[in-house]
Amino acid sequence: MPSGRKLILCLAILGGLHFVIAGAGFFSPYDPTAQNRDWPYAPPMRLHWFDAAGHFHLRPFFYPLQLQEGAFNEYRQDTTHPVALSFFVTGARYRLLGIFPLRVHLFGAGDTPIFLLGSDSYGRDLFSRMLFGGQISLLAGLLATGLALSFGLLIGSLAAYLGGWRDETLMRLAELFLALPWLYLLFAIRAFLPLAVSPLQAFLLIVILIGTVGWARPARLIRSVVLSSKERDYVRAARGFGASGSYLLRRHILPETWSVVLTQAAILVPQYVLAEVTLSFLGLGVPEPVPSWGNLLSSLQQYSVLTSYWWMYLPSLAMVPFFVGYLVLASALQERAQGPKI
């Protein structure tokens, strides 16, 4: 596939995925923190188009679950009362993109709970939690990447352009940051913070920490690009004509780094999403009941969950298309930057 088309396809798929996550409030049927205490660990419900008699229904339907008498989490399907899915229903309040207050949801089923991906130990809808969790995890990854790249760009180009002892100092600092055991650093920093941090504070903290810890690698890369480009003939020529340092950086040197920065971004986003997932998995992320992908997976630390409720793994699968998308994007960007292979 030509790299141009591959790039566009890749961007389209990623865009679609992000669109769904950004509109989590609309696409999910429930509030992600709402507990349905009568439905703990409900298994995923299948949507049907054909009923028992083989007739096709345009509106998909599902069979509601019923708790087995005396059991805690054993359900059976009530096949006698199929419930049809309703679309564009009014439900729990949410804010689309964090701004517009809305109550309309893509689908719902009235009073009968529909758990497309099952429910967790509090009876919270895993599908809704997965979509909302994606908002936190992806946004954290994107913001942290932006932060790390800004720092990297600034420090890397400064180091290369200034050279001498300043270059040395900055690069040794970068190596120091690479060598830091950042996970333990995070534990230590968390211990110094006040006891209760709000979800927003915790989120910003994660973004800032991942971003500031991660600047070193892009900085070294950008430095090398700047180093080589500042010795190019046209740059020397411009300098000979009396161009100022900032003009050279802006006009000739930094544009050379764009492709590196973009490729780095595509590589770093999944890495930092994973960093957020790791932190939340260990309980250092946004606090419950706010979902994030890491929070969703943290219940898998319990052996009984691991063996009894397979649908609790599903959030980990949700990450796969995002990560693959970003990595393919990175390689497409790289191909484009290097030009067609011979």
Partner: protein
Amino acid sequence: MGLAFLSALFLLAICLCDGSSISQAKQSASDISGTSTKEELFTLPGEVGRPGGRLVVALRAEPKTLNPLIAGDAPSRQVIGLMQSDLIHINRATQLTEPAIAKSWTVSKDGLEYVLKLRQGLRFSDGQPVDADDVLFSFQLYLDENVHAPQRDLLIVGGKPITVRKLDSHTIAFGLAKPYGAAERLFDGLAVLPKHLLEDPYKQGKLDQSWTLASAGSQIAGLGPFRLKEYVAGQRLVLERNPYYWKADGKGTRLPYLNELVFLFVPNADAEVIRFQSGETDVIGISKVGADNFSALARQPRGITMTDAGPGLEYNFLFFNLNELGGKASPDLARKQKWFKDVSFRRAVSLAVDRAAIVRLVYQGRGTPIWGPVTPGNHRWLNEALPHPPRSLDGARDLLRSSGFDWKKGQDGDPLLVDSSGAPVEFSIVVSSSNAERTKMAALIQDDLKQLGMRVQVVPLEFRSLLDRVTQSKEYDACVLGLVSFDADPNSDINVWLSSGSSHFWNLGQAKPSTPWEAEIDQLMELQLDSRTFDQRKHLYDRIQVIINDNQPFIFLASPDILTGAKNAVGNFHPAVLEPYVLWNAEQLFLRNTSESTPR
């Protein structure tokens, strides 16, 4: 881990026992050894088993020592409990005292002197005979301040250490400064130690270095059913049958049945479950088994039977920071404490908590909602008349409104509770991060209180830093914690309820009771200590339960059942709700000769 630590704390608690009737348990003396010394064996009722075999159990941490004079951690106490015996024992099934090394005892009329008669002809596990000198020596060690035995606190009655006198080679008299009818509960867990092995280390001041895990089996002796065979650091501890043990079964066969008892060291509860599932261990439940693991095991019945032994003595509760911090409190906490110290606020929280949901979602139904510190597992002391108000959000709202709280519309349109000065009611609940059950309870409470308009955050903390916050720095708003009474007697929890007690978590370190009702509890506790009959004590303790219920220093949540399991091949498996839940009758456990018992 949390529970283990707390129950260890509890062992250190001063336990004073009072008077009630003296049990003259049935016993029979029989002479089966055929040797010249007449041995007075204790015959146990129950199924007659088959001698031989080895039983494997998992231990969640390595014991730190085999020395009863130092042991404070749960694994050490569990192992030592099988190697040593006490004079008078609390039967874990009946929860009553029964004779052990002492075959009988009498009490003087004034209740100040106990005279204990020892069994004749008993021998330590190394074959050396037992007499009153060993008992005298043991209590000398427990009471010696330089030894720092954790048992010492237990033996201070009425402010004075008990006195011990030898009357003859098999008779011992114990003197108390104040009368306590059935002080016999005190003797449970106090091992009779061999003088011939420990006298030299004691004289040299080296007691704390003796009976370590590295000691050879021949250096350690006791009167328990098992003795040390082998210890492999990081892997296992093996106990072997004590051939001189003093109990026999109905047919006169000397107990224990098992040849060996193996403790495998596993890192955590999940590893324990996996070992049991794979058939590597025979019994599970020596440490608490969670309901989720229990039902996962119950679903895979491959030659195992899972047993729900019913409600235990663990009570979980939410409490607020009611400490008198004076100027030390941050302005933020001082503001919140105004709500916390309002009893209507605490009652409203209690009314709003959905205990049924906690039992169902946290314990999968294998637990009981509670409204007081005495769980249904402790049926003798439970105050049945205690009110059990059903969950009522409206009732909670009424209470809050009458106390000056009000609601305003929050950002998202949800009602927000505000206090009389208009400040929103927000606080955090700290909870041990390693305890999934309590973390879950806190999350449920968070959601319950959200419906009252309170904004609550759950903060999982590592258990030690949680304890540090609660007991040292006192920088917290509220906390979910649990305690396990080590005995089904009110005195095991005395440190929680006395205003000066070391576990009086909501307001620690009081020089004098800070509220009238805490003063009343102090007074009633003192009274019940001095009372000699069960009825009197029960009456007083019922009143204490009512006061606690009225004032809600703890908002009681739920109590889990004791969940255990064993291979079908294990005979005489009768789990109890008192610790040690499954190995309390280890001497009677045996392996049936069935296909299940063959190694997989």
